[in-house]
Structure formats: structure tokens, C-alpha cells
């Protein structure tokens, strides 16, 4: 605290008149000259025009990703003409080239090898009876527990990858803390605002390959689905809207491609958490389709991919609830947004994940 003194007598309006406030206003310091309001506008509009010419495409893309509403309309009202202008000029490419070294991310927003180019991951919807050959059934499809065979655990969990979208937080950090003492190296790699049904920010087909290449995990915990429900491209330039069976087919294909990447030919285990139903009815519809697709996607790899049911744990009977009984006490488990788990909820999920990890690995760390 500064040296206490009594409150000053009324001295306003000029803030500078208060001696205790000496040098407390930016204009009290030696400063540049005062200009006119029109100079302020010139300055701001020069900056705005330059940014529109160079980053017009980004402005348009940002607007297109926003939820419907007045903000989106305002951004697109600027973004569409700015994007058109930027498309006509070579400035954006030049600026991207100049600033590429500063970017903290690899470009994983689609392209070769991504969902929208790979026939397995995300090609047009193809349903049984349209010429698709029956998929081969392999031993990977059988969980030894279902067969009544004693499972052969993997030797040691040394490297764990926890990934997904915002649902993966705070589970990722809780898992990392819990396993740090055992010497397990946990890579936390959640990507907020991303989804399997949208590839504009991150294409999970590309990202999953990169994640496995970078961290070579023994196990992968995946918790995502907060941003799903976007339409998939279909044959002939059409699209498949959520949440039909056709939409679930494509979602399952993409999820299966990711599962196949994460399981590393059987060297790793995958723990894919289903979605606790969200509070809003439209989101519940999406969550049900996502959960159904996850279950189908995992079928060929049931010996390595565990689908961990969060739906029944947090929303039994398909009914949303913000709180549940934990250790005899009613406890909030969801965040106020009605989508995510809070710390207490994530701890419930954590216990379930840890139980499965302990069953699958002879030793943690």
C-alpha cells in the first residue's frame, strides 16, 4: 500500500489538479504533440485499410467460423469485401512468407493427407450396397475380456498423449499430475475450438499423424466433441448435414482413421471418451450422433481401442445434470456452460481412465 493519507478534498474536474495523482496520468509525462480528431481517424483508418488489404482473407475466414448473430454479420460485412480485395492482390502471400518464421504452429488446416483428401478418412459418404467390399475382420476386433481370455498387458506405460478439444481440459493436466510421480511422460496437446467435422483450424487426420510421429505414445487419451455438428462434404459437391446416419458414417470413418493412427499397429492403447450429454437440446442431438459414431469406429480395433462411457456416468438415462453425488456429497461436475466438465467432474473421468490404464499396462512409469 502506498503511504496512507486522508482522502483529498473535492478538487475535480481536472485529474492533474490532485497533487497525489502527480505523474499518474500518461499525459503528465513528456509526451508527443496533441493532434486533431481527424488525425486520430486517419491513423486508425490507414491501419485498418492496410490490414484489410493484407489480412482480408483472415477477416473473412474468422467471420465465417463465428456463430450466427450480429457480431458475425458485422465481421462478414467487412470480411467479404476485404477478402475479395485481398484475393486480387499478392500482399497476403508476401506477408505470410515474411512472418512465417514467427508462427508457433505447423499448418494443419487440411490439405494433402487430410480428411478432405483421404478417401478412407473423409471422402464422400459411401454406404453398404454401393459397391463397398466387406471389411476384413481381424483379431484386432476382439477384446480379450469379451472372449474370456486373460489379457496380455503391455509392459510399461512410459509416454502418454492426452489430446482432444476443450473437453480435454482439465483432464489432461490432472492425468499429467497424477502420473508424473510414476515417471510417465505426459504430452498434453488439446486444440481448443477444433473438431473432427471441421478442418479449417486443425485437420485431425493430419494432426493425429503428427502427434504420433512426435511423441510415439504408448497410450493416447482422447476426449473431444464440443465443436462437432458441421456438415461433411459429399459426392457431387453436396454436403451431409448433422446428425443423420450418413453424417455419423463419415464421422465414424474419420474417428476410425485417427484410432488406427493412435493405436500404432497394436503397440499403443487408445482411450476414447464418449461425450457426457450437454445441457442444450440441439447440442445433445450432435453428442448422441458423435457417441454412436465413436462406438462404431472402434469396432475393428477393440483389442486396442477402449471406448470409455462418460455418457452414463455424467448423464444417466440421457438426462443432463450439473451435479452428482461424489463420496456422499452432492458436487457440481459441469461448468456453467453446460458442456464441459469442471475440476471435480474431470477427476471422476480421471479415475475411470486410470483404472483402464492400470488394467492394460503391467507398470505405469
Amino acid at each position: 500500500m502506498s503511504e496512507p493519507t486522508e482522502p483529498t478534498e473535492p478538487t475535480e474536474p481536472k485529474p492533474q489538479d490532485d497533487p497525489r495523482q502527480r505523474n499518474r496520468f500518461i499525459l503528465d509525462r513528456e509526451s508527443g504533440r496533441m493532434l486533431r480528431a481527424r488525425d486520430a481517424l486517419s491513423c486508425v483508418f490507414v491501419a485498418a485499410i492496410l490490414l484489410m488489404l493484407i489480412e482480408g482473407v483472415s477477416i473473412r475466414n474468422t467471420g465465417e467460423k463465428m456463430d450466427a448473430g450480429i457480431q458475425r454479420s458485422a465481421v462478414l460485412a467487412v470480411g467479404h469485401p476485404a477478402g475479395w480485395l485481398a484475393d486480387q492482390l499478392p500482399l497476403a502471400a508476401a506477408a505470410d512468407k515474411l512472418t512465417a518464421a514467427l508462427s508457433p504452429d505447423d499448418d494443419l488446416s487440411g490439405g494433402p493427407g487430410g480428411f478432405n483428401s483421404a478417401p478412407v478418412g473423409g471422402g464422400p459418404v459411401q454406404v453398404a450396397g454401393e459397391g463397398a467390399a466387406a471389411a476384413p475382420i481381424t483379431t484386432d476386433a476382439f477384446d480379450s475380456a469379451d472372449l474370456g481370455v486373460k489379457p496380455k498387458p503391455l509392459p510399461t506405460l512410459r509416454k502418454l498423449l492426452v489430446t482432444g478439444d476443450s473437453l480435454g481440459q482439465p483432464l489432461d493436466v490432472q492425468l499429467a499430475r497424477k502420473l508424473a510421480g510414476d515417471g510417465v511422460v505426459t504430452t498434453r496437446d488439446v486444440h481448443l475450438g477444433t473438431g473432427i467435422s471441421k478442418t479449417d483450424i486443425v485437420d485431425w487426420g493430419l494432426l493425429s499423424v503428427k502427434q504420433v510421429k512426435d511423441s510415439q505414445p504408448d497410450a493416447v487419451v482422447m476426449f473431444m466433441g464440443a465443436n462437432e455438428g458441421f456438415p461433411f462434404p459429399a459426392a457431387g459437391g453436396a454436403s451431409v448435414a448433422c446428425c443423420s446416419a450418413e453424417w455419423a458414417v463419415t464421422y465414424a470413418r474419420r474417428a476410425r482413421a485417427m484410432m488406427d493412427t493412435y493405436r500404432r499397429d497394436g503397440d499403443a492403447r487408445v482411450y476414447w471418451l464418449t461425450l457426457p450429454l450437454p445441457r442444450s437440446a440441439p447440442r445433445q442431438k450432435v453428442a448422441r450422433a458423435v457417441n454412436a459414431a465413436i462406438a462404431v469406429a472402434a469396432q475393428p480395433y477393440r483389442s486396442q481401442v477402449r471406448v470409455l462411457d462418460m455418457t452414463d456416468v455424467f448423464t444417466p438415462g440421457g438426462r443432463y445434470r450439473a451435479a452428482m453425488t461424489i463420496k456422499g456429497r452432492e458436487t457440481l461436475v459441469r461448468r456453467p456452460d453446460g458442456i464441459h466438465l469442471n475440476d471435480a467432474g474431470a477427476r471422476v473421468a480421471l479415475d475411470l481412465v486410470l483404472a483402464r490404464l492400470r488394467a492394460d499396462f503391467a507398470k505405469l512409469g
Partner: protein
């Protein structure tokens, strides 16, 4: 709406142009600016606007009643009721979720199984700042430091978008007089405003967010996975992150206000050069510091009641200052550390004289250590972090950019300000078109450093 976003970049030039176009017609300008400020706030959640409107009308009603009354008891009763209502609003939104499980646990322990109902309450952004400014208005009217303003002026004071969500905490008697007459369009501090906006963007996006992503979040998230070198660097890096994040926000807020013709008080003045805790609080979050002094410490009696009462008043002020940041034991511990440091400093003032460098060294490192419980998600993890500071091992996160940025920001605060000020003034004197072009270049460079996750919210948004 967050400052460094496309939405705000679209919003601000339009509002700025219309603001100056309408400035001379105050009867139109004020409703326009009020509407724009509410639109800005509604972008976070339209329901928050109901709370904001309620605070405006409630405090204005109380101020009018206080002003009309000559009865000292009645005036006091009204001001107490108004401040209590403000604090209850703050308490419900901010502290209900924190205290409910604690109280329920206590009730369970003593066998009184009557739990308080749980509720998942959304915290309106900036509620702490809005509440303090509302209190400042009502109390200043009670103290006869200002006359009650018109309702629309009070509305503008509390909702003016540059300072709405994270300060600086502008006193009613600093802002409301600026609404009495149109701002002078021939005297706009364009250079100072633009330079502040640019500095704020660099601090927030290029420094604070970078350090958060690369070292602070990983180490504070899982301290058990790191050893002393990383924990030490992370603690310095967090001191830099929170300074750059919060002072970056207020730089932008002050800069935007200057372009609109308004002057806000400074909030930071190179706080890490302080050689005493008293000095630190004259340099860090200065508007909160003076609010706590004028509305809590002095009303409690300040330093007028002898040593013990001064100690009590300092501790209460700092503990509540900690709690103001949020409902968590870490904030309370942070307040307690600063309170104890101020008490010790107060008791030994004039008795022990340390060399200035040693005083700085001690103060700086206690401040850095006090940030650890402030940042850690809970006290257990704060404890784990402290234990890692002593557990020597490999440095896994020491990279040149992290080390350079961390020590550059701290080091610049220790250097004399004159050369930096001279540089700043040179930039401020550029032609407006050159200023605009420079701002665009900096925005492009800063935007290139943003990850695909976008710009994280300012730390103080959650306070």
C-alpha cells in the same frame, strides 16, 4: 469482446469515427456511446447487461437519495445499503461457488446436514472492476466529493467500453467531469494513444501469451514433472507474464480512451524496480492500490490508531485485496504475504537501512515467490511448485527466446526511463499516416505469433 480480435478491430474504427462525428451533439453522443458500450459487453453474454444496468440504476438511485438528504444518519444508512448491495452482487457471482462447498463441508463435520444449494453461476466478466467503480461513485457522492451525475453519465462511467472489463479502476471524480463537456477535437493525444495500443499488443500477444504457452502453463500445470531450473525460470516468467498481460490490457485501454479524447489514470509504473513493498504498491495496479487505501485502509483507521491497529488494518486490506482477485486460497495467501511484508516494512522503517540493491533484490524475489500461490491452481500445487524450486535436475525448457524475453522485460524496468521515454516521444511525433502504417505492421507481426488456439483471454478478465 476482447481487444486483440478481429471483432474488436471491426468495432473500434466504426465507433471511433461515429464518436467524433457525434461529439458536439452530446444529446446524441451519450446514448450512442452507452449503446456501444453495452453492445461491447453483450458480446460476452447479453445477460451480463442486465446486471450492469441494475448496478447503474441502483447506485444512481442511492446517490440521488444521499444527495437529497441532509440527515447524516439517513445518508450513512443509504450509502451502507448501496455498498452492501454492490458487495452482495459481487459476492453472489464471485464467491458463492467457492464458499458453498466449504460451508457445506463444515456443516457436515458438525453434523448439521442442511447443505446450501449448489449453483453453477457464470461470472460476469469485469464484475470486480464494475463493482469498485460503482462504490467509488456512491461513496464520493456521500463524501460530497462530487455531485450526483445524470443517470446517463453514471451509465457511461460504469460501462465505457475501454475500461469496462479490466480497468483501470477510474474514479467517478476523474471520469464524470470529462463527460460534462464535449472532448476537444483539436487536442487529441493521437501519438500517445497509438504508441500505448501498440505496446499493449506486443506485451499481451507477443510476450505474455508466448511465455504462458512455452513455460508458465506447462510448469505451473504439472510442477511435479519439472525440476528446479525450469521451476525457477517459470516463476520469473510468470512475473513477466502477469505484468505484460495486465499492463498490456491497461495500455490498450488507456490508448483507446486517448484516441476518443478521454484520459484514464496510469495503472503500472515499472513495478519490478521497487525497492520496498510500499513502493511496489505505488507502481503495481496503482488504481486498485489507491482504491483499497481510500475505501478500506483509511476508513478502517489507517495508521492513526497505533502500531497494532496499523498492523490489523494493513492485514485486513491486503487479505481483502487478495480475495478481490478471486475465490481461492491462493489469492488470500498472496494477499497475506504482501500484508506481512508491508507490516514488517512498516515496523522496521527507519530502524534498518539496507543497501538499495539488496532491498530491491529482496522485494523483487518475495514478489516473485508470492506470485506462485497466486498462479497455482490450488495450494497443494503451490506447495509442489515450491518443493520443485529446491529439487535440482535438468533444465528442459530453457530456450533463448524464453530467457531473453523474461530477463529483458525485468531488466528494462531497472534501467533509467529517460532513453525509453525519448524513443517513445519520437514515435509519438510521427505523422498520423506513418503512425497508422506502423500500427498495422506491428499488428501483422504480433498476429503472426498467435497460435491456432487464438488469443487467450486476459488474466484479469477472470477477476
Amino acid at each position: 469482446m476482447v481487444f486483440p480480435t478481429v471483432q474488436f478491430a471491426v468495432f473500434f474504427p466504426i465507433v471511433l469515427a461515429l464518436s467524433w462525428a457525434l461529439m458536439r451533439r452530446q444529446g446524441v453522443w451519450k446514448p450512442f456511446m452507452l449503446a456501444m458500450s453495452f453492445l461491447f459487453y453483450a458480446a460476452a453474454d447479453p445477460m451480463f447487461c442486465v446486471m450492469l444496468a441494475g448496478m447503474i440504476l441502483g447506485n444512481q438511485g442511492a446517490a440521488q437519495l444521499i444527495h437529497r438528504s441532509d440527515d447524516a444518519r439517513r445518508r450513512k444508512l443509504i450509502v451502507v445499503a448501496a455498498v452492501t448491495a454492490d458487495l452482495i452482487t459481487l459476492g453472489i457471482f464471485k464467491y458463492y461457488g467457492f464458499f458453498t462447498p466449504e460451508i457445506n463441508g463444515l456443516l457436515d463435520t458438525v453434523g448439521l446436514g442442511m447443505p446450501i444449494p449448489l449453483a453453477d453461476i457464470v461470472l460476469p466478466v469485469g464484475i470486480s472492476f464494475i463493482t469498485f467503480q460503482a462504490i467509488s461513485y456512491t461513496v464520493d457522492v456521500y463524501r460530497r466529493l462530487i455531485e450526483p451525475a445524470t443517470t446517463i453519465d453514471v451509465g457511461l462511467y460504469l460501462s465505457f467500453f475501454p475500461h469496462l472489463v479490466a480497468g483501470p479502476i477510474v474514479r467517478a471524480r476523474e471520469f464524470i467531469p470529462q463527460l460534462q463537456s464535449p472532448r476537444d477535437p483539436r487536442k487529441v493525444a493521437v501519438g500517445a494513444g497509438v504508441v500505448l495500443i501498440v505496446i499493449g499488443l506486443v506485451k499481451k500477444v507477443a510476450i505474455a501469451d508466448y511465455l504462458a504457452r512455452e513455460i508458465v502453463d506447462p510448469v505451473f500445470g504439472v510442477p511435479q514433472a519439472y525440476s528446479a531450473p525450469d521451476a525457477i525460470l517459470a516463476s520469473y516468467a510468470y512475473a513477466v507474464q502477469i505484468f505484460c498481460d495486465f499492463s498490456g490490457y491497461t495500455d490498450i485501454a488507456i490508448g483507446l480512451a486517448l484516441l476518443m479524447g478521454f484520459v484514464f489514470p496510469q495503472n503500472f509504473d515499472r513495478p519490478y524496480r521497487a525497492a520496498s513493498f510500499g513502493e511496489f504498491w505505488q507502481r503495481w495496479h496503482m488504481t486498485l492500490s489507491r482504491f483499497l487505501r481510500d475505501f478500506l485502509y483509511i476508513p478502517l483507521g489507517g495508521n492513526r490508531g497505533g502500531k497494532l491497529k496499523t498492523v490489523r488494518n494493513l492485514m485486513i486490506t491486503m487479505l481483502l485485496g487478495g480475495l478481490w482477485h478471486g475465490a481461492a486460497w491462493g489469492f488470500i495467501l498472496w494477499g497475506a504475504i504482501h500484508g506481512i511484508a508491508l507490516v514488517v516494512e512498516h515496523q522496521f522503517r527507519g530502524k534498518i537501512r539496507l543497501p538499495k540493491w539488496l532491498a530491491w533484490f529482496l522485494v523483487f524475489h518475495i514478489v516473485v515467490l508470492a506470485w506462485i500461490p497466486f498462479r497455482a491452481p490450488d495450494l497443494d500445487l503451490a506447495g509442489a511448485f515450491f518443493s520443485r524450486l529446491l529439487d535440482w535436475g535438468p533444465a528442459t525448457l530453457w530456450t533463448a527466446p524464453i530467457v531473453i524475453l523474461t530477463f529483458l522485460v525485468i531488466g528494462l524496468q531497472l534501467l533509467p526511463s529517460r532513453p525509453m521515454d525519448a524513443l517513445r516521444v519520437r514515435f509519438e511525433q510521427l505523422h498520423p499516416v506513418a503512425l497508422g502504417a506502423s500500427m498495422a505492421c506491428v499488428i501483422l507481426l504480433v498476429a503472426a505469433t498467435v497460435s491456432s488456439q487464438g488469443v487467450p483471454p486476459f488474466i484479469y478478465f477472470s477477476f
